[in-house]
């Protein structure tokens, strides 16, 4: 075996080359925070404009129509040759403006992404985060924090952007467009439940996943996550349809099932201990209730899927 080494010691030819089609070219990326009403005129030319209002509102006039853009709404303007676009913002407005070119050359059998020209953005925080990353990357080497005046603006063209950054900009833009496309599907893809509860339940799940092998209980989790135990229990049940205690057992039994098959030389009591059960008899009863099989029976009906040698290696790795 080649001795231990970190990345620096390895030659570059070990990597993976990935090829992309990049039908995109960035033109401008700005974040405008305006305290007072104001107007700006842009000349889109051959570029597409994406305008997203994060706070406040603005009016976008493009010669044919004027559109009002409320907070958390986004607008896509197609390239329109020589015409001008006028953006008039109200006081206390916070918006993002991206301009880019999109060419179709080189794209033959690819897919198409259909994006509405106007969207009430479903997940504005997600979009904001993507646009922030985009602007950060577009800034490239010319990073500067603008002075803290009435109007703050970060904007830069494609100059001084490295090739990797260029690819990243492309991927970030497609993600932002996907986020807009998602908004047009009327939320059918979004879970309809209260988001706060989903987040709480998921934090409980994450805690259980990380600590199932320790002695944990529902009040412990509540203390750790700083919730009232009764509230946490209620919220969890509403979201997941089971108690936290049941969720802990489910997780432990599922882990036990995996460990029983992965570590075939270990006794049932040891597996039970690894999964947080100090009483092997109790573990057997719960296992049987969940799987309708004893731990030994479960092993018997699932023959070894690892080659013997690898299994032994894994066993040996466990020995201190």
């Amino acid at each position: 075996m080649i001795p231990y080494g970190t990345g620096e010691a390895l030659s570059m030819q070990d990597g993976l080359r990935l090829d992309f089609i990049r039908p995109f070219e960035p033109v401008e990326a700005s974040h405008v925070q305006a305290d007072r009403p104001g107007t700006r005129v842009i000349r889109p030319g051959r570029s597409v404009c994406l305008i997203f209002s994060a706070h406040g509102g603005l009016v976008v006039e493009d010669g044919r129509a004027a559109r009002e853009l409320q907070a958390n709404a986004a607008l896509l303007l197609e390239p329109r040759g020589p015409g001008l676009v006028r953006l008039t913002n109200r006081a206390e407005t916070d918006f993002y403006l991206l301009r880019f070119r999109w060419s179709e050359s080189g794209l033959h059998a690819g897919q198409v992404l259909q994006v509405p020209s106007y969207a009430a953005v479903l997940r504005p925080a997600r979009l904001t985060h993507l646009l922030r990353m985009y602007i950060e990357k577009a800034k490239g080497e010319n990073s500067s924090e603008p002075p803290n005046t009435g109007v703050r603006e970060d904007s830069l063209g494609p100059k001084a952007v490295s090739r990797t950054s260029m690819l990243m900009l492309h991927h970030l833009l497609v993600l932002a467009l996907c986020e807009l496309a998602r908004s047009s599907q009327d939320g059918i893809l979004m879970p309809a439940r209260e988001p706060g509860l989903a987040s709480i339940a998921s934090r409980v799940d994450a805690f259980v996943a990380a600590h199932y092998h320790e002695t944990i209980s529902s009040p412990d989790i509540a203390a750790e996550l700083r919730y009232n135990p009764d509230y946490l229990e209620r919220a969890y049940r509403q979201e997941r349809g089971m108690s936290i205690r049941e969720a802990i057992h489910t997780r432990r039994i599922n882990e036990a099932r995996a460990q029983l098959l992965l570590l075939r030389q270990q006794g049932v009591a040891q597996i039970a201990a690894m999964c947080g059960y100090t009483d092997a008899g109790y573990f057997r009863r719960l296992f049987k209730r969940a799987t309708h099989m004893t731990p030994h029976g479960y092993r018997a009906v699932h023959p070894a899927f690892l080659p013997d040698e690898a299994a032994r290696a894994a066993e040996q790795a466990l020995q201190p």
Binding site: G106, V112, P116, R132, M133, L189, A198, A209, Y212, A314
Partner: protein, 275 residues
Amino acid sequence: MIFPVSVAIESLNGGQFVSPGFGSHAVRVIDSYELIFVTQGCLDMFEGERSFHLERNQTLLLFPGVQHGGLLPYAPDVNFYWVHFRPADPGFPDASLYVPKVATVSDPEGLTELFCRFISDQESGILDPLSAAHLVALMLCMTCEEGGQARPSRSRGIRREQESLAQAIHRHIEANYEKPITTSSIALDLHYNPDYLERVFHSRWNMSIIDAVHQKRIGLARAFLHTEPGKNINEIAFECGYTDAGYFRRMFKRLTGLTPREFRTLYARTHINTH
């Protein structure tokens, strides 16, 4: 509007591994590539004839068809993200990316956030293949990025002693940003006039000293918001060097565009595996 796109990657599933303190990575052969990103502890793996020792903020790219597995039992504190993918035929490419086998990531928070985004949508069942492919492509781009966050100067005519002073300020910030430091306290510690210090720093890093301090602090806060679900926002503010939580919130919003709470609930769901 319709945008023609090409997908260079087919992404499969992803997740976060949290060490249970025992066991080791299964020995196996898979039919896809796997990117592993260690966020805590060390991970020792082998692939074919080679062994890899990964530390925090390092990534490893595993290839399909080659046996890989754990070399040592999982350390009790190891924590990593993983995602499986396959390259797809993009047609007639005009750009390529060279993904290194092992890399040290220059923006670990950014990469962690991409993984969180991927996993959260995957677990909610709303991850479409196009977004998934571009998220994985973005993760791979991040393993190729060079250099740290400190960007080189624009100005050419900076003298050597000023350069070393700018570096000294930078190091001072790196070491002390969790404490309540200000430009004048740094000036006092380094025995320089605050205005001169500010000028030298600005000409080198193109930002003010206090902005650099805020950037470090908010970066730390972002990491805490994801890794410490039990901490409330006032505590995080305090641990990041802010004594006034309201001020922290304003700075956070200014630098990230989101409130700390919005940022925390950005990725509500996670997928954790322990073997």
